[in-house]
Amino acid sequence: MDLLSNLALGFGVASSLANLAFCLIGVLLGTLIGVLPGIGATATIAMLLPITFQLEPVSSLIMLAGIYYGAQYGGSTTAILINMPGESSSAVTAIDGYQMARKGRAGTALATAALGSFFAGSVATFLVAIFAPPLTTIALKFGAAEYFSLMVMGLVMSVALAHGSVLKALAMVVLGLLLGMVGTDVYTGAPRFTMGMNQFADGLNFVAVAVGVFGIAEILRNLEDEHDRQVMTKNITRLFPNREEFRQMVGPVLRGTGIGSVLGILPGGGAILASFASYTIEKKVSKNPGEFGKGALAGVAGPESANNAGAQTSFIPLLTLGIPANPVMALMIGAMIIQGIVPGPNVVTEQPALFWGIIASMWIGNLMLVVLNLPLIGLWVKLLTVPYYVLFPIIMAMCSIGVYSVNSNPYDLFAVAFFGLLGYIMSKLRCEPAPLLLGFVLGPLLEENLRRAMILSRGDPTTFVTRPISATLLLMSLAILVLVFLPQIRKRRDEVFTESDA
């Protein structure tokens, strides 16, 4: 069977000693930054991108992927123990997980989160393995017009799934697209928006934009709030759930895995949406919904499975179409391009070892997380005692070194500072940075495909609506846009998201 031989190839690649080591480093780093609230997976991956240039492509992508799903685990640990979600996708876990911890069931909550995540991760990895190859055969039939329309749909979806105002999310996508235009125009060689500075002829450095908007802006945001010293007592005993608790877990975990797998494929923070959606559904199907918010096991098991499943399946659009589902995947595209790999449907056929190696490593990484994390919880909690006045200068310095080492260009650092400030202002105006980064990454690709399609059609813009696949994709984008602007849907959408602020 093809799938089995492919998976065997993947496990062969992923279980080499070096790749196991990078997977381990990735998941440990990911857990660490997931635990630390001052820094997220996006900023870390952006910071570490330069480091991975020196590695083999497959090792570097295995490590970066490990950071991503490791952060999901780490985020839930702090969400449960101190009601402080390290990652936004574990915000829901904090609701019932922390209540469980207060009732002395922290161990059970942590184990539930870990086991649910592991199960969901395994299933989702398998789904990636099953669905990625057929999708790539479809994607290979795509021409420039289809790619253009697909990207439009991806961007529209990211707007629809963004948190808060649709209008502002849409504006952020457009802003990102505009920022992506900075630099030399590939077709005519004309400099655009460079303000006469040669240093920006190659465009804004992607790493600099990501580090600024996610890393530095987050520091600025954290400095705004007064630092609270919270003293709390933790009593972690019995980690493994008993038979009754296992029985309670099964349903939520299965449902969470399903929801997460589907939503993870969609662009725009699939993992976050997945955990919110799972929580809402668990509350609806539960026999005693009153338990939710007071320490319901299902309120931990469901969302945790969902966010991990979503984190895995968000690799599907990346690996098959070369289109990122969220900012982290956008960074992975950056990593692939720098390694000389063109992301897209050709990766499966041209680089099978890379493709299947990454997929296999996700399963191995998930296993490592379960085995390592439960005993290491004490250590992670200790790390939280590092004061923020030490943490943020360190994050800042790592950001600076990381960005500078890409091109040794001080202008990239000026860009970091500028985008840090811009990101902070955006958060003040309640504008989401994620759509901006997606727009920034997809901007040049979108324009290239637009212009190529126009050249192929000899300047006839109807090519986008006369080709059936392209027309369908554009129609779907339009339908999504109309839907999110309909007041009734908007109200429902707000309800789903306000759940998290509880």
Partner: protein, 186 residues
Amino acid sequence: MSHEVPEEVITVDVPGHPPSSPVPPSNPWLGRERLAGFSLVAFGLFALWAGSDLPFMTEGGVGSGLLPRALAIIIMLLGVAQIIVTWNEVPESTGTWPVRDMLPVLIGVFLFAFTIRGYDFGAFSVPVLGMSVATPLSIIFAGAAAKDVRFGELLIFAAILTAVCIGLFRFALGLSLPVAPWLIGY
């Protein structure tokens, strides 16, 4: 199988995001939503002006100016829509702007940029100081501004991190970042 962890008291120093109650701005024009709309319009205008010399169409098809101009106009329209849609809302303040805390972080990044491989300001120039100076300099400068800083700890962490970074970037990864050319020649 169970792990017994003794009860312990943990002091955690973490930045919190307390839910802030809406505060009206000093001037309704400075309300958050309206400000967001005007910023978008301003940005669109700037992009239109900056891209005004780019050709709209060329013989081969779409010119280098079409998409930038279209996007600039879209962003302005979105800005106007944002202002209109939120016109009747009760304006909310954007909160405090902790410039005193923010500046050191941003300046820290610039300090690193100017010192790592030197910088020519015209009137004077900074020599190549390398990672051994740039890293601790920016860490200490940014950290010193924090309200609850303890200098001893900050210095220790800065020293450790500098050593780790030099080991990692220069020796483990072999990147050609200068370490301390004024002292050891590389």
